[in-house]
Symmetry: C2
Subunit: 349 residues, 2 copies
């Protein structure tokens, strides 16, 4: 009478790390970064539509585990992501993640995917989107302070989206810089390894900071920062973790994703609660000014927000079609009669 086989609705497409890598190479990394930048920007244009909440964080001595949900009323997404700076010493990733899309109308998941790689991609695309609106015109050189897992993605997104062709590197660990130089050989970028932050930022139009120490560090001080640069501050992204001296903030105009979250997690956690910031989506929709003058210092105080993950998940879902780069996961119990969960269990005996 009843089939013991799960129906189609019971299966959720799952993108493993291996399949995500296949998808990236299938599309091409720089093409993907450019497309993803546009998808994120399209969602920032309809920012007001989203159900927004600061991420739900569970802090421990070693790190943090976060859930980042959002919804546009039709699709719901969330990401699971951790941040454990000491993981690296054990040979583990500082940040790992996975995420999900679901239909709002039924609550049924429609995509489950690794998001460690995807988070690196969307973070780079978000930086590029901000720089497209805030960086000085004709910017060609970026300094990259912190040469860890996120760094190459930042460099290539800035190349693909903003026309950056020269990257100047610094990391307190020279091996990280060596790794990045190696990885970017053949990328078409001119890459210069530097021995100090000071030297790395010489002549840079964009300065990206992406370091992982969970503490209030001062990667950049005020006297290092010349007029007209755009600072893309990625690493200060949880309470007690900042990278910039507050004097830099006082000279810069600060742009943020979602103020209630950034005031807790971003560089501006150093400032008073009503410290003036501009929401990036307002710059993108033309409701607020971005860069006004050539001498202005712009700061994108980036912490990463759920809408960017939503965009990335939506992009993967669309780009996955017809590729076969996924497997069907039997994660939803789907009895023939929805009230007969018990009967489904009994028949499986």
């Amino acid at each position: 009478m009843s089939s013991p086989l799960p129906s189609e609705k019971a299966f959720v497409p799952f993108v493993s790390v291996e399949n995500m890598m296949r998808l990236v190479h299938h599309i091409g990394l720089e093409t993907l970064l450019a497309e993803l930048t546009d998808v994120i920007e399209a969602d920032f244009r309809r920012w007001e539509l989203f159900d927004k909440t600061p991420r739900v964080a569970s802090h421990s001595r070693e790190g943090v585990i976060e859930l980042m949900p959002t919804s546009d009323g039709e699709i719901y997404s969330f990401k699971y992501v951790n941040g454990h700076p000491k993981n690296m010493a054990q040979g583990l990733q500082t940040v790992t993640a996975f995420g999900l899309l679901a239909e709002v109308s039924t609550g049924y998941p429609v995509l489950l995917t690794e998001m460690t790689l995807l988070t690196a991609l969307r973070t780079a695309a978000t930086s590029a989107m901000a720089a497209r609106h805030l960086a000085p015109k004709g910017a060609r050189t970026m300094a990259m302070i912190g040469n860890g897992a996120q760094a190459e993605f930042q460099a290539l997104a800035m190349k693909a989206v903003c026309g950056i062709d020269h990257i100047r590197l610094f990391d307190i660990d020279p091996l990280a810089t060596t790794k990045m130089v190696r990885n970017l050989s053949g990328s078409g970028l001119t890459v210069t390894a530097c021995t100090s932050s000071q030297s790395a930022i010489e002549g840079a139009d964009i300065i990206t900071t992406c370091t992982a120490d969970k503490q209030c560090a001062t990667i950049l001080t005020d006297n290092m920062i010349g007029a007209g640069v755009h600072i893309n501050a990625i690493g200060g992204d949880c309470p007690g973790k900042t990278e910039l001296h507050r004097d830099i903030l006082l000279r810069a105009d600060t742009f943020v994703e979602y103020p209630p979250q950034t005031r807790i997690e971003g560089e501006i956690q150093q400032m008073e609660p009503d410290y003036p910031v501009t929401e990036l989506w307002k710059v993108i929709t033309g409701q607020a000014e971005g860069r006004r003058t050539a001498g202005q210092i712009t700061l994108f105080d980036s912490v990463g927000f759920a809408v960017e993950d939503f965009s990335a998940l939506r992009y993967v879902r669309d780009r996955l079609k017809g590729t076969g780069f996924y497997q069907d996961l039997d994660i939803i119990a789907d009895p023939d009669d929805p009230r007969d969960l018990f009967g489904m269990l009994q028949r499986a005996r």
Copy 2:
């Protein structure tokens, strides 16, 4: 130099719906319900240790999607669960769920599992745990109002844990009752199908209400409830969704899981914000009284809390060992050098 194969840490054991059913039959359903009741009770005994927060809900016209995180400081868990009462008309489950365990020290997931079945099991086990402490001595008959997907699990948990041997059924849809009668044949329970709530609760020591309408319904009215019964109210579990007339609450002593969540979602959302309730964990640890007299009406205003999912996930993880009822999911990117995510991607080309 670097292996393209992911390391062991990159794989997360995944329990599909099919494997969950295998595990249930391997252990035996009633044995599992009894063991799970004890595991949940053990976690309720160390209630104060848990990082607790009301679930993070995303409400829509059609239903709700929720994330339910918690942690005991060593293990972190969360569940994704939806509630869409109208799904049933489309042949879909009202409630589907999946969940995850992770190490707090690294943030790395250690188990991903279906939780549609597991939620039914843990909800039944939690009801049985509460009844074990609150139901009248020697209770043998339970009325089951609402004969949907959760109902048989409730009946068998009450049998396995509390010695219930007679179940009296009512549902506004007689087909649901027919299904439940069929499913419980051979279970060892005496099952009586009734044509009204009034008739179902005749002679019942425990009354379980488990209906799915997302509205303030009145499944039970005050004049129906005799002295001394234990009411196990499962269905009122989100804002605007209740099952009991408030006059019943006024005659009963109310026991809850986590007051900040129950006051939003439970039967007591009908009452003033400081309406007196007793936390169930305090009864279990002996810090508060449960049932004091034979004539007292006890009410477990159950909404389902994250700690119960934590217990269920922990139980599955322990019971999974050596069974092979899981598959390894490549969900965590794990490059040889944790800073070299990009190199891992490049080598996969």
